[in-house]
Amino acid sequence: MSEFEPKIVAFVCNWCTYAGADLAGTSRTQYASNVRIVRFPCTGRIDFMLLMKAFENGADGVIVSGCHPNDCHYTSGNFHARRRWIVFRSILDLIGFDTDRITFSWVSAAEGKKWANLVDEVTDKIKAKGPFTDLDKLDGVQLKELYDEAITK
C-alpha cells in the first residue's frame, strides 16, 4: 500500500502568510505538497465553520495562519481571531475533537522558510496520526448497523 498522503487545508491571510507562502515559492523552497491554500483577506475573516467544513469534506489536518500580533493589515483582525481560536479550541477540547489536527500559526510575508517548515512539520504530524475518520462513521450508522446486525443474526 502506498504511503498515506494527508490532505491539509491552510486558511491563510492575504497580507502575511499568503505572501510568505509566495516567498517560499519564489525562493524555490521545497516543501510538502499536501497543503491546499485558501486565501482570505484576514484571519479575522476565517470563520470557525470553515474549519468544520474542511474536516467534514475530507481534510485530515488544517492550518490557520496570519500576520503576527501588531502586524495586521487591518490593525486588529488577528487579535480578534486569536480570541476566537482560544474559545473555539476549548470547546473542541471539551467535545473531544482532535485539536492536534488544527495548527495555528503566525507567518509573516518575510518568513517563507518558516512557512515551508510549518507545512512539513504539520504534514509529518498528520502522517503519523493517520487519516481523520472521526466524522466518517457518525451519520446514519446507528440504524444501518442495527439492520445489518438483525439480518446476520
Binding site: 446514519g140 440504524l143 442495527l146 439492520y147 445489518d148 438483525a150 439480518i151 443474526k153
Partner: protein, 334 residues
C-alpha cells in the same frame, strides 16, 4: 380478537424469544437523563417497565426522523447510479407502547396510505408489529379519555398486554399479532374486565362539545393569548405520535449524495415561508393555531379522526409548558 394470558414470569422469556427470532425489538429504555426513549434492545433486562409515557413516540420506526429516499453516485462513464435499497428494512417489533400511541398508528396509516400510498411507510409498516402495554399509571398531562380513547384501548395494536396481578391479559387483534405469539408461553383465557387494572385518566373535555365549537374556533380572539408562550421550536411536533410533516433535503455534491426526508414542524417560522419571502403564517399565533386546528378539525375533515391521541407528550416537553387541552378549551369557550 383472541384472548390469552401469560404469567409475568414468562414475559421476559416471550420478549427474549422475539429478539432471538431475528426481529429488531424496539422498547422503552430509561436513559441517564431520567427520560424514557424507544430504543432497539437485546434483552428484557434493558427494558423500562416503570414509566408513564416515553419522551418521544414510536413513530420513528415507521417514519424515521431522517429517511434516505435514494442515494446517487457518478460513475466513471459520467452516468449516475441511483440506489434505493429498502430490502434490508428488518421485521421490527415495537414493545411497550401505550394504547394512545398504537391508536396513533391508525392515523399515520391513513395519512400515508389512504391516497397516493407512500412506499417507504408502507414497507416499514408492513414489517412492524405493535405490542402495546396498557397504562396502570397516568399523570396530569394524560388526556386520552378526552379524545375518545382510554388507557386500555386495543385500537391499532397487534397485541395488547394488560398487567393483572402476576399475569398479563393478552388481547390479540391481528394475524400479525398471532404470528409472533409463542404458543407454549400463553394459555387460553376468557374475556375479563380490565377496568380495575387501568389508570384513571380524568376527562378534561368532551369531544362532542368541542366538535361543534371547533368549527368556528379559527376566529377566536383567545388564540393570541393562548399562544403567547410559544417560542417556535419543534419539540411538540417531534414528540407527537401523529405529526407527519416532513421536508425533503438533498445532501451531497455533484459526485455523490442522497435525498432525505426529514421531520419538519409547523411551529418553525420558516415552515410556511415562500421563496418570495411572503409567509402566510407570519406569526407564532397563526402557527400554534394551525397545529391545534389540524389535530382537532382538519384531520377530522380529511380522515374522519381526531389526530390528537391525548398522550400528553407536547405538554411535558414544551419549554413554555403550553397545554394543548387548556388551549383547546379556551379557544372553544362559549
Amino acid at each position: 380478537m383472541e384472548i390469552k394470558t401469560i404469567t409475568s414470569a414468562n414475559i421476559p422469556v416471550f420478549f427474549n424469544n422475539l429478539v432471538k427470532s431475528g426481529k429488531v425489538v424496539v422498547a422503552p429504555v430509561l436513559k441517564k437523563s431520567g427520560k424514557v426513549f424507544f430504543e432497539s434492545v437485546q434483552s428484557y433486562d434493558q427494558v423500562s417497565t416503570d414509566y408513564i409515557q416515553t419522551a418521544f413516540s414510536a413513530k420513528s420506526v415507521v417514519f424515521p426522523e431522517v429517511e434516505e429516499l435514494f442515494s446517487y453516485t457518478k460513475k466513471e462513464d459520467g452516468d449516475f447510479e441511483f440506489r434505493n435499497d429498502m430490502s434490508n428494512v428488518p421485521e421490527t417489533v415495537i414493545w411497550g407502547l401505550r394504547p394512545c400511541d398504537s391508536s396513533a398508528f391508525n392515523y399515520l396509516t391513513d395519512f400515508f396510505l389512504k391516497e397516493n400510498p407512500d412506499t417507504y411507510f408502507k414497507l416499514r409498516k408492513e414489517r412492524t408489529t405493535l405490542i402495546s402495554v396498557s397504562c396502570a399509571k397516568a399523570d396530569a398531562a394524560c388526556f386520552c379519555t378526552s379524545v375518545g380513547l382510554n388507557p386500555g384501548n386495543v385500537t391499532g395494536s397487534d397485541i395488547l398486554l394488560t398487567a393483572m396481578g402476576d399475569s398479563y391479559y393478552v388481547e390479540i387483534s391481528t394475524e400479525k399479532g398471532k404470528s409472533v405469539i409463542d404458543t407454549a408461553l400463553f394459555t387460553d383465557s376468557t374475556e375479563k374486565s380490565k377496568e380495575e387494572f387501568l389508570a384513571k385518566v380524568e376527562t378534561k373535555f368532551s369531544m362532542d362539545e368541542i366538535r361543534e365549537r371547533i368549527q368556528t374556533a379559527y376566529d377566536s380572539a383567545e388564540w393570541k393569548h393562548e399562544s403567547m408562550g410559544c417560542l417556535g421550536c419543534g419539540a411538540c411536533a417531534f414528540s407527537c405520535p401523529t405529526c407527519t410533516c416532513f421536508d425533503i433535503q438533498d445532501e451531497g455534491s455533484q459526485e455523490s449524495g442522497k435525498r432525505l426526508r426529514c421531520w419538519d414542524a409547523c411551529g418553525f417560522g420558516q415552515f410556511t415561508r415562500h421563496a418570495s419571502g411572503h409567509n402566510p403564517k407570519s406569526n407564532q399565533t397563526a402557527r400554534r393555531r394551525q397545529r391545534l386546528m389540524h389535530k382537532f378539525k382538519y384531520s377530522v375533515e380529511n380522515f374522519g379522526i381526531v389526530s390528537c391521541v391525548g398522550c400528553g407528550r407536547c405538554i411535558r416537553v414544551c419549554p413554555a409548558h403550553l397545554n394543548i387541552f387548556e388551549n383547546i378549551l379556551n379557544v372553544t369557550k362559549a
